[in-house]
Symmetry: D2
Subunit: 481 residues, 4 copies
């Protein structure tokens, strides 16, 4: 039994989100572990490498936390016995895909620790840009680190600030003055549940309610899954503290709205389409992306298809705008799991074909517009276009519902090094040839704002202009084994 | 560690196929286990309870078979080490969902056995209707049974007939004279690979080729997955014998074409849409089903949606025919696995909602036509219609791409007892009320033939008229624990 | 997860017993699985490769058997949940080390099967010498075999004889007329527990009682472990049938006493010293062996030590007889388990030293008599004598509490091929030199009878004279993969 | 799969050691993980709950440590693949039985961490008496704790001291000024292996050599197991630093010899008899204990027996001194493993009898002297004496090779609370009656010094006089969940 993941179980050429968080506090004292389980299950798309839950009894001894973490999917890690053994009316859960920190069980979250005021559990989505520098600073005061995740850096700052503050939420706020980058954070102290979102609002975070329970989580789809109502989004820079005495909001770290910098890829690809983030429907923004592609890059064709799953909504938008019929061109094998054995180079089977097959019946003799949400290295696009043609498509026009990637992301999206990006040093026409398409167009960068009702967002990976200065030392270095 | 599956990981109210088979013979002597693995992976939708592979070296000692079976998905049961340890240029694999025989590791297939002529491995899809009677007859001659699967009965007959025949394929043919019911069968003897399909052709079986290898498998999608060419379907009643000396066909058991009785549910729901069965595209037949529903049961609406995944193609057909826009109304959580913990009655979470969420954005304020492939007990339909309405759909019109279930299946489809069927003793109008739809229509029974280019098919579950007399004793009895 | 055992966890140069059996019938209807578990635990020394339990409810449906088998030790295979799930007042268990049939889960026992009269479970210790011939005969009547164990051959014969007999015990008796070799057998039919011992009595079998329950098992130590009383041994050739109506004995297959041929290695090495077999204490017979060695092969020395564990009792006997003090010279590491990683050739660590260390303090400057129960290949003896000398022993005199092995065993003891036996083609003096001892003596063959109160026993492995003709074809052939 | 150990696999009424450590540095650059594995295997008796290994390449990047930890025995946790994946010429391993800190995977050692100077791995045997106080002090400077083991407290102090010292060994020395209690410690820094033993020398630690490798480990038996030479013991208070430039010793923390306070139970029970600790043979000291018992508490009898395994050496000593023959009275079932299912109260089987059976043959009609190493609660002794009498012993005289337990241990031995100790508030005569013995005597306390060649040792658990003041707050409190 290994504690490493050997295989990714998606199409190879996709981006990866790093985490999803789900915290809950039941003022009626009911056990929350089971609901957190279903909440994490709804967030599974945000991270499939490891997951964990930590719960505590607010009327129990202060330091008593039950936690369980493991490598793999939520449904692989937790058994009915494990869940039943986790007693507590306050808790926090996490699913993880690692961009920083290696994928080992040690790095799974939530991080549970003892500090001067008892116990703390942290679950965190995002990437700090000054984590390495903060680590070094802490080490120079004698700190020791047992993981390679940013959460440990955040925890240290909260613990230290707590010495001089009158409440844990104040410690969180003071810690936020030090840490820089993207973070949506849930902190569970013995009797408080705290949600904090970085001032740029890179990553989503929202509040829900069910009967006498409150929930803080990454995406609103998780609220619907557990039959809770959406209350509101946590504001960029806001710290929300949930206690039986009420919900308290601190907005002292909030920035002017124009400084906000949501990750646009949440809308394009990461988030589930049934989520709303900061008031904008993810699904609707994808439909719009497809419509804009149809307006800006029209082409004559017989059929519009999406690369499943995330290309489907944009394909529908393209179809609605253009009047060209929408269709299904691919069958995706949904049984690829963590332990799936990838075909070797020497096998006749190919990884892409094993996971995705073309519906020849649907595309034969047709001019096909294929919508994908992004092209990273281009390796998968190349295969898929080829498969469509083998299946009899007479033309394949590729439309991409995002602009070309040209720059690294420092805030939590796992973009390969520049040299591996297909758009690096290549014109759109060159890329078209590489992937074998008859035409190719990307979403224009000025459409991004329209897609999300002009919410301020980050376009760093397209433009190289980031909402804050990227780190001068390589944050993928020493600690990011 | 349990050897039983506790949870089904699909929507509760679906039918289950029982098996998929994949056999391969590489005349160049290459190892086939790895390709069988990917082939089974492509057939995973046909059975998720257990799986297994058996291989043999045709130039090795006659009785040397390597086999490995286990409970769970193909990617859970096999490790790279297991596959690499399986040396052999001839082999057969199986995925299983149990309708007859309990779901234990003992009952996993292929069945591997020694008999008078050496070794035999069998993989079998279907259900015999005289299995119990044949078991009793065999027992009265001193036979012992170590499993509760039909394959053991078939194996016994082949072994006995082999005493008086000059080849194993002749023994298979003589055994076929005794066994009655549905079966698509692959038999691996030390140096021959044999495929046999029952004379009614209930279950699919086809032949493929890759370089100097031949493949026999349940569905053509498995051929595409391993980059093999489709050669042809095995005929109902045909026995195909693959040897290095050539491929031999025996059609002595074939019936006149009008006696054939394909399972229509392969087209409606079981098979993968990218498969062709007996010359008919599964995808195309589903599109047609949708079109017929649009012709026969039109309704004014703003949107046509499918219940994923199998309702989507029919929804597309309905949209194409009616001109009403096609859309996506549901997000299905693809991470439900074998060990997923079902919500208890006492949980606020519901099993349906955890697996399927409505895209409120897509349906709000709209009149929705929802296409499902079948309604069995109606429990899921009820929930889904309710969820659409909660999400703001003003009307929900349900169209079902198959006729109502009214009778049991004796040939391998796991239909609940009559009393549990929603259509039993209820008019369509009654059912409409039960599931809360604004209108409801089923595919008309005479459309089934049109759907499949008039291929003869079985309609027993709709009409109670079966292609052969059902058993008088309960075949779900004693042995089907 | 492998289904093969990669490592043996004992000193390499030991013989292996093949099986232990434990059956129980509680006339008060209590569950027996848990007691069978502890019984098997007491018999674990008889087989460590796989184990299993099958139970049935005598007042339940006739064909309902719960069984669980797995590779590994009793405490590895069974969990509290597994045991609790096994409901039944009659049951049988088995521990296995394979001499015939490969070590796979398929070959684990008890064998559970359906036959003309319902269900049968079999557990069997021993080796048939005509198994292969019987298999072939059965195959020529159309039988199929799914395992490579003798038990399946026995089961077939019982099933066939049952067609013409009025009871299952009669079928067992008639089957015994066909099968030849060593067997102690427990058969569980729906409402009877049957014990049978081959007419030569190679393997032990005895009866116990606890309250209103009866037990049949391999060794009396298992009775003491579960707090049951020893009732009596099953006679060689006897069939004992336990039913609520009484215990019935059939002795029609018994031979004259002088034909009996107990395996003498049960006394020398296999059985636990706290067992009595056929009225003779295993411990006492080992003490006697040591005494005879002292009488027949005396030597001046300072210390007598045993090679643990089985050499200790003979060492004590030697000490008592000779007056030379008994001591402990070795520390055995008891934590070697099934998954222990053997040192490679390239490692500095040696397999023997990792498992056994010399107590230098005890032997330094002393003349040591080292008693071992047997020398097979001599590889371990060589190492151990060397270790004693390195630790400072001035002389090492080896005494072996059995005669030299010269011939194969056909009745269930796993003796290597003749060429590998150190005594083959070597004089005692040669062997002495090979293992580096200062003197060497074996137990004289005429002492064996004295050791066991003149009970008739088999000396085939020493003399080549067997109680029945050995098979002319190699029984380690085709089926014994 | 649980991450807790449910069952102890020894006789219930034994004491538990808490840990064993094994570090190795190969100056020739060879991989050490495999040798550490066998070293830990030899130390398995010191801790069976969890184990781990961490290794590093001294010529690799400074922060690169491979580590693997898990619950269970060494042979259960490590696979050949795991070991082969661990590349490094310097490493440290640990086996653990928890007295402080809960038995979870999080608390398994070695502890691996990053600090200001790179990476550190710690393995530690012993118990600090000021750990809780130090934790609190650290927390008041902002420290966070992720485990409940003392090693984390030690690590923090080393990390903080390192800020003001020029080498890691100096930091270890300065940390030793703060921590109080029992510790034998191995620290692996990127290019140094450091061993430190507390100034009282409670726990053993010694140095070995093999070719161009150095080893630091708990017991000399581990050196023999891996074919290394014993070099010398680490002195109480000494810090030994192993580098390619030489071995450096710092003795600045050593106390005058009379302040040393070795744990006497290492000699009586914990250590393996083939180990030497501080120049004294463990085996020899046990022989002596038996001799003293024979001198001080003689009794007429026919047989002296030991309670296996640890009572055997003292029984031999008693026999040698008294002239009463030594014998074996018990058969211990060596197959009890971590997952063994303990008999419930409602079972007829008893935990003691399942693990230990009496050799009736050996004791029948005899007056038996039974030597045990200690009596804690007395529950097992009671059962064993009873079993001897049932088996026919006419008298049972119990001799204990240690004085009665009366006080808690604060230094790492898991002694139950006072009320549970059989000797608490009872005279020896009372205890004799409770356990049903015919006579009872303990080793006299003044014999302890003679047993160990007058090495200074701790007698706190017998006398309540400790080598340092016990903690005033309960160290089993808050953190020792």
């Amino acid at each position: 039994m290994s504690n490493r993941i050997h295989e990714q179980y998606d199409l190879e050429d996709e981006l990866h989100e790093e985490c999803g968080v789900f915290g809950m506090y039941d003022f009626d004292g009911g056990d929350v572990a089971s609901t957190i389980y279903y909440g994490l299950f709804a967030l599974q798309h945000r991270g499939q490498e490891s997951c964990g839950i930590a719960v505590s009894e607010t009327d129990g001894p202060k330091g008593r936390v039950s936690s369980f973490k493991g490598m793999g999917l939520v449904n692989e890690v937790f058994t009915p016995e494990t869940l039943e053994g986790m007693k507590g009316d306050i808790g926090v859960g996490h699913v993880r895909y690692s961009t920083a920190g290696s994928s080992t069980r040690e790095n799974a979250q939530p991080l549970v620790l003892n500090y001067v005021k008892g116990t703390l559990a942290l679950a965190h989505n995002g990437n700090l840009i000054n984590a390495l520098q903060l680590r070094h600073e802490l080490e120079y005061t004698g700190a020791i680190f047992q993981t390679t995740i940013d959460s440990e850096v955040i925890a240290y700052h909260i613990a230290r600030e707590r010495l001089n503050t009158k409440s844990v939420e104040d410690a969180v706020i003071r810690a936020m003055k030090k840490i820089q980058g993207a973070y949506s954070l849930i902190v569970m102290s013995p009797r408080k549940l705290i949600g904090a979102r970085d001032p740029h609002g890179f990553k989503p975070l929202c509040i829900g309610k069910r009967d006498n329970s409150y929930i803080i989580t990454s995406e609103s789809c998780a609220l619907e899954t557990v039959d809770a109502e959406f209350v509101r989004d946590v504001l960029p820079g806001e710290v929300v503290t949930i206690t039986p005495d009420g919900i308290f909001s601190d907005t002292s770290m909030c920035k002017p709205k124009e400084k906000e910098a949501r990750c646009i890829f949440e809308y394009i690809y990461f988030a589930r389409p049934d989520s709303h983030i900061d008031g904008v429907s993810v699904y609707h923004s994808r439909i719009l992306a497809g419509k804009y592609l149809a307006m800006d890059s029209p082409v004559e064709a017989d059929l519009v298809v999406g690369v499943p799953e995330s290309g489907n909504a944009a394909a529908l938008g393209y179809s609605l705008q253009s009047g060209i019929p929408y269709g299904t061109a691919f069958v995706k094998n949904g049984y690829v799991g963590r332990t799936f054995i990838k075909p070797k180079q020497s096998n006749r089977e190919s990884s892409v074909r094993v996971k995705l097959n073309v519906l020849a019946e649907a595309v034969k003799g047709k001019r096909v517009i294929m919508i994908d949400d992004s092209i990273v290295r281009g390796t998968t696009s190349d295969r898929i276009v080829g498969m469509l043609k083998e299946a009899g498509a007479t033309e394949v026009h590729v439309r991409v519902s995002s602009p070309p990637f040209l720059y690294p992301c420092y805030f939590g999206t796992d973009i390969p090094s520049r040299e591996q990006l297909i758009a690096y040093n290549r014109s759109v026409d060159d890329i078209k040839k590489v992937i074998g398409a008859d035409s190719l167009a990307y979403l224009e960068i000025n459409r991004l704002g329209e897609m999300v009702e002009q919410l301020p967002h980050c376009t760093g990976c397209f433009t190289g202009k980031y909402p804050m200065d990227p780190p001068t030392i390589d944050i993928r270095g020493e600690y990011q084994k």
